[in-house]
């Protein structure tokens, strides 16, 4: 199951850190996201792009997970050579994550 079928996302930037809010479309899918969309899975997905730590904050009240990705923006938005220096596209890239089916 693609994350894109369960959730939507938006990315923000501060210095060299990207933050990506991932929000379940349906409240009943939130628990599944919390189980499966682990910081480790996100870090593996962004291997080669995110060079630092990945932290996750849970907001069950609004059915959302907030990910903080350090070392994700080429040294910082203002000095990065990247075409998408803000890492705006990372939100869509996050939705490419394939979640395992649960038995």
């Amino acid at each position: 199951m693609l994350l894109r079928d369960l959730a939507h996302a938006r990315a923000g930037d501060k210095g060299d850190t990207s933050s990506i809010g991932v929000i379940a479309y349906r409240a009943e899918d939130y628990a599944r996201l919390e189980r499966l969309l682990t910081p480790e899975r996100v870090r593996a997905h962004f291997a080669g792009i995110v060079h630092g730590e990945v932290r996750r904050y849970a907001l069950p009240g609004i059915g959302a997970l907030n990910f903080v990705l350090e070392g994700a923006l080429g040294g910082g938005v203002t000095r990065s050579l990247a075409l998408d220096a803000h890492g705006k596209c990372l939100a869509s890239a996050m939705l490419e994550i394939e979640l395992p089916e649960e038995g």
Binding site: H8, K14, T78, L83
Partner: protein
């Protein structure tokens, strides 16, 4: 009797934002306040450089156009304007606002300019540690600017003093929205819960159209009606700090719990501690409920005592970007793009280009997400070569090597663009709040 609720509109979410939606809000939003957030992290450093060249410059280039567009409706209805379009020169910006008002025949307009965020001279040469490592002193003469994020207090004071337009430099974005709540409801500056709630509302509004369906549409997944005529948001805030977020009926876009959730988390790290000059806001208990068409009720925000420290944005010279791009299309586009990339890489080595960092991407293939699947092969690719160099002269060589692919590279390359631009990097540090001395200057049109 204090007001029971106030209506605050967001007239801009960044310096280049559309102007029409602000006019629509001013004319039809039944607002008490209209806030324009136009100051990105780096904008203020660029504005400082502009001011060094011209003492009357250094404020937002669309200031006059925006005020010209909304002042008549605002004056007619008593809507007060708060904006950080003063950037590096709030006083000159306030003078410009007075000129615009006089030109519109709106004499007597009371304008307050908020100064005191500029700590460049106070921090220059000090051992203040930067969050990214090193110290301010270590930047030496590369230092361009240091501006503290001021809180809502002095803006509320300007409103209490009767300002119809408040022009600021660096102020925390949510604080511009929090200020009218503090002023109207008489909130204590130590009422952490209300300051936290007001910050939630301010944070939801600060990017304007990003909460009304802008930056949200994803065809087949997330539909936004009439996005071309996107309307900007307004919030009706109660004395308790709860709010109803909506937009002008008939405007484009949509306001739903989903649009609000995306914005609530935007640029947030720890949602339990969203650090602001006035409060450490807590977003974890926020509830967002649909309350009719294009209306969302916001409750449950919280807050804890402020840290007593202010974040300071520090701008510094970091050399020059040099860039060149060229496109390849049709059969074999990818192979020709790859060949062009290899040629430019070799030529830059041969000329001994001294770049601190260099990147050669194929747009359409690997420019944004790095290497990945190459099937199906893209029908067109665009080589983008960019580097950061110590001098403008060195940076120019990069565009030159891309440009010369016309007669010295693979077949059918087209659409070359080249650019050289100064790099102003942004760092940050924390300083004790007492270091900033906010001061209001009054003008009348």
């Amino acid at each position: 009797m204090p007001a029971r609720s106030i209506r605050i509109g967001a007239g801009a979410g960044f310096s280049g934002d559309r102007i029409d939606p602000a006019v629509e809000l001013a004319e039809h939003g039944r607002l008490g306040y209209l806030v324009f957030e136009c100051l990105a992290e780096r904008t203020i450093a660029l504005a400082q450089l502009a001011r060094q060249r011209d003492p009357e410059a250094g404020y937002d280039r669309l200031l006059a156009a925006r005020l010209q567009a909304v002042l008549p409706a605002c004056r007619r209805q008593g809507i007060r304007i708060i904006t950080n379009m003063g950037a590096a020169n709030p006083l000159a910006a306030a003078r410009r606002v007075a000129e615009v008002a006089r030109g519109l025949g709106l004499g007597g307009l009371r304008i307050a300019a908020l100064l005191g965020d500029d700590l460049t001279d106070a921090l220059r040469g000090t051992e203040t540690p930067l969050d990214e490592g090193g110290t301010v002193a270590g930047l030496g003469n590369r230092l361009v600017s240091a501006n503290a994020y001021l809180g809502a207090g002095p803006v509320a004071e300007a409103l209490a003093g009767g300002a119809e337009v408040v022009v600021t430099g660096r102020v925390a974005d949510p604080a511009m929205f929090l200020a009218p709540m503090i002023h109207e409801f008489g909130w204590s500056m130590e009422d952490w819960t209300r300051l936290g709630r007001g910050t939630v509302v301010g944070h939801l509004l600060e990017c304007a159209g990003q909460v009304t369906g802008g930056y949200f549409a994803d065809p087949g997944f997330k539909h936004v009606p009439d996005l071309a005529r996107l309307g900007f948001p307004l919030a009706e805030v109660t004395e308790e700090g709860d709010a109803l977020l909506t937009k002008v009926p008939g405007s484009g876009g949509r306001v739903t719990p989903a649009t609000c959730k995306e914005q609530l988390l935007y640029e947030v790290h720890d949602p339990a501690r969203y650090l602001q000059p006035d409060v450490a806001a807590d977003f974890t208990g926020v509830r967002l409920e649909a309350a009719g068409e294009d209306a969302v009720r916001i409750t449950g925000g919280g807050g804890r005592a402020r840290t007593g420290m202010l974040k300071v944005s520090v701008g510094c010279h970091e050399g020059w970007f040099g860039e060149g791009q060229i496109s390849y299309a049709g059969p074999g586009a990818l192979a020709r793009g790859e060949l062009a990339r290899a040629i430019v890489r070799e030529r830059l080595q041969r000329i001994g280009l001294e770049a601190e960092e260099l990147r050669l991407d194929l747009i359409g293939l690997d420019a944004i997400l790095g290497p990945g699947p190459t099937r199906p092969e893209p029908r067109e690719v665009r080589l983008r070569v960019i580097g950061r160099c110590a001098s403008a002269l060195a940076a120019e060589r990069i565009g030159h090597e891309v440009d010369s692919l016309y007669l010295n590279g693979p077949a059918s390359g087209g659409g070359v663009t080249t650019a050289v631009r100064e790099v102003i990097g942004m760092r940050s540090c924390l300083v004790p709040a007492a270091m900033a001395r906010p001061a209001l200057h009054w003008l009348e049109a």
